[in-house]
């Protein structure tokens, strides 16, 4: 088989997500009263980037065949912290951004230490740590609001348009992919994360740095979720400790990951796929808006689309020759 066919097979999930996104987005833009303008793209991008960052965070953990149910809460916590720290002069703002990302990394590291050294299941661990992170968020931000000298110029710069055409948030997202995801995927640790997801035992037998890979995956997940929280602060100019928001983002991140062709059993998929999954999921929600559907039906529509999307994967059942394969 030629090389490109392997590459194609490897990227099938990502490409499917891209196709779904393009289809949904075309449908959206074609029916939008304003049409394909920079402003429409900017709005879509800003909403999509939030979920895309959280979905990337989820991907890193899911690749190691774990799951992080605390991403939404890290997202909320960093939103609340950022509403205090992204303020004042350029120096102070820079410090604030770095501090928020560091807090995200710390949250991820706590998850990692409990999962790796405490040997607890990721799902229970992150449920519990998620409660803790949310508690801290509520502690520092009992009521929605922001610092008095919130640096809204900086926030505007990151949510606006470059040269009046390209949404800055998309550029930032691409930057994140280039700076964090690509180096990780190509590093030994990244390959190990994939290997752990496929078979932890085989990865161990091959002498790969399992613990370090898992640790880095969780920490980078925390960092990405914190970046999502930063962006949320840039859009809303405020921080809010909302359980509903946190849970929604956690759930949507899983949905985006699945739509993006990342296997929940680990070892397969890419964060780029998850980004397209997130954008596609957002576009599905927005479709109702342009088709002028009663907003009351929006949750149902989104749910049904999600259910159908996840059922598509079961088409592989038609290929099963031996029923025993079902159970492995």
């Amino acid at each position: 088989m030629k090389d490109w066919r392997f590459t194609l097979a490897e990227q099938r999930g990502t490409l499917t997500a891209l196709a779904i996104f393009i289809a949904m987005f075309t449908l959206y833009v074609a029916n939008h009263p304003a049409g394909f303008t920079a402003n429409v793209v900017q709005t879509v991008a800003n909403k999509g980037v939030l979920l895309a960052l959280v979905a990337m965070a989820q991907t890193l953990v899911v690749l190691t065949s774990g799951i992080d149910l605390s991403v939404g809460m890290i997202f909320i916590l960093s939103n609340c912290v950022a509403s205090y720290l992204v303020a004042g002069s350029a120096m102070a703002t820079t410090f604030g951004v770095v501090a928020v990302i560091a807090i995200g990394a710390l949250c991820g590291a706590i998850n990692a230490v409990i999962v790796i050294f405490g040997r607890l299941q990721p799902i229970v661990t992150t449920i519990a740590t998620g409660a803790v992170y949310f508690g801290i968020a509520l502690w520092i931000r009992p009521f929605p609001g922001a610092s008095d000298n919130f640096n809204s110029d900086f926030a505007d710069a990151l949510t606006g348009k470059l040269f009046d055409v390209v949404p800055t948030s998309v550029v930032a997202l691409i930057g994140v992919v280039v700076v964090i995801w690509l180096p990780f995927q190509r590093s030994v640790l990244g390959r190990t994360a994939y290997a752990v997801g496929s078979s932890e035992l085989a990865a161990y037998m091959s002498g790969m740095p399992i613990r370090r890979a898992k640790f880095v995956a969780y920490v980078l997940g925390g960092v990405l979720a914190a970046m999502g929280g930063l962006f949320l602060t840039f859009f809303t100019y405020s921080g809010e400790a909302s359980v509903a928001n946190g849970n929604t983002y956690t759930l949507y991140s899983i949905a985006a990951v699945v739509l993006g062709g990342v296997s929940l059993f680990g070892g397969r998929g890419s964060a780029v796929g998850a980004i397209f999954g997130a954008l596609a999921f957002r576009a599905i929600g927005d479709l109702l808006f342009v088709f002028d559907v009663d907003p009351l039906w929006q949750p149902l529509f989104q749910g049904v689309v999600l259910l159908l999307a996840v059922s598509i994967g079961s088409a592989r059942l038609f290929q099963v020759r031996n029923r025993l394969e079902l159970f492995t």
Binding site: I67, I114, G118, R119, L120, Q121, I123, V124, T125, I127, A128, T129, G130, A131, V132, F134, G135, I136, A137, L138, W139, P142, E200, L201, Y204, V243, A244, N247, L251, I254, A255, V258, L264, F265, L296, W297, Q298, P299, L300, F301, Q302, G303, V304, L306, L307, A309, V310, S311, G313, S314, L317, R323, L324, L326, F327, T328
Partner: protein, 328 residues
């Protein structure tokens, strides 16, 4: 843990109850007593029969919901659709109660059957379409939410609970809360189901290794589907009781029950990977969580503190006995 798997020989009686009290269950009960002692330093009311009965009553709702969750977790799966199944059960029962005397009489069955149907969809998705349970239940949760939002128009529905629902949830017999009796009956049925029927054996078997159960002639797909349906029915029943307790159904009334129900089952020593666990442990987990929540709120610890303590205690307890063995 082998005691639960052998017993293939029908002449063998169930093992002595003393053999079944394993370390997790003992630790959980120990923690309950510790909590009560700590609480009694704060106020002697914590040891009064009225307070304890009140806790049993409040815990009964969680207990009924956790029973279903335990069935699913024993299979090695998880049900994230509990929040809106609870709400759906409550709303459908209240809606039926508004339809004259016939509806009033049928309110409770209607609620339960609606939950059963939701669970059936979950079960079909997991057992026959082989979609990971975390995904399909998530999607079904979104669909259930969509159905209820569309049905109620996003507001709290005006229908109130039927007299029978109120009696079951809030009434007392000889000073014992009916809700606690309902939990007792549910629990007894669950124990019978798990320990004395082929279905229960099959649940443990599938949780250990589905392929092995299948090769042993267990109709694994049907068992998984039925377990999910039961979980949905029990969650809806919990919702019916909650509606009876509060007098009416409310939007997102079930949100507070997803994580506690998982935590209760896991704290009770049931492995999140499935195949291991006893109902007595789940009882301990439910009481532990109910007491913890109650004591934290009686001590007037702010919401943020409660979240933090809650998360930390779950992690601590799991570190005591929930750790996986080193696989190598």
């Amino acid at each position: 843990m082998k005691t639960q798997i052998i017993e293939a020989d029908p002449r063998r009686r169930a093992p002595d109850w003393r053999q079944q009290l394993d370390i997790p269950v003992l630790t959980a009960f120990g923690c309950i007593i510790l909590l009560l002692i700590l609480g009694s330093f704060y106020s002697s009311n914590f040891l009064s029969p009225e307070y304890l009965l009140q806790q049993l009553k409040v815990g009964a709702f969680l207990g009924v919901i956790a029973t279903g969750m335990m069935l699913v977790i024993l299979l090695g799966q998880i049900d994230l659709s509990v929040p809106w199944t609870v709400t759906l059960g409550a709303m459908m029962a209240s809606a039926a109660a508004a339809h004259g005397p016939v509806g009033d009489a049928l309110a409770i069955p209607v609620g339960i059957v609606c939950g059963l149907l939701i669970g059936l969809v979950n079960g079909i998705g997991v057992a026959y379409l082989r979609i990971p349970s975390m995904i399909v239940t998530l999607a079904v949760n979104a669909v259930a939410q969509g159905l209820m939002v569309a049905y109620t128009g996003g507001f709290a529905p005006g229908d109130s609970a039927s007299a029978a629902m109120r009696y079951l949830a809030a009434g007392t017999i000889l000073g014992i809360p009916n809700a606690a009796i309902v939990w007792l009956v549910t629990g007894a049925l669950a124990v019978f189901l798990l320990r004395r029927t082929t279905f229960g054996r099959a649940v443990y078997g599938i949780g250990n290794k589905e392929a092995a159960a299948y090769l042993s002639g267990v109709p694994t797909q049907r068992v998984v589907m039925v377990a999910f349906a039961l979980c949905g029915a029990l969650a809806a029943f919990g919702g019916v009781l909650l509606a009876g307790y509060a007098g009416k159904a409310a939007q997102s009334m079930g949100d507070a029950y997803l994580l506690p129900s998982i935590a209760a089952v896991v704290l009770g020593g049931t492995s999140i990977l499935g195949g291991r666990g006893s109902y007595i442990g789940t009882i301990a987990g439910v009481i532990l969580i109910t007491l913890l929540q109650s004591i934290l709120s009686v001590m007037q610890i702010a919401e943020f503190g409660r979240q933090i303590i809650y998360g930390v205690i779950i992690i601590m307890m799991l570190l005591l006995y929930g750790r996986e063995k080193i696989a190598r």
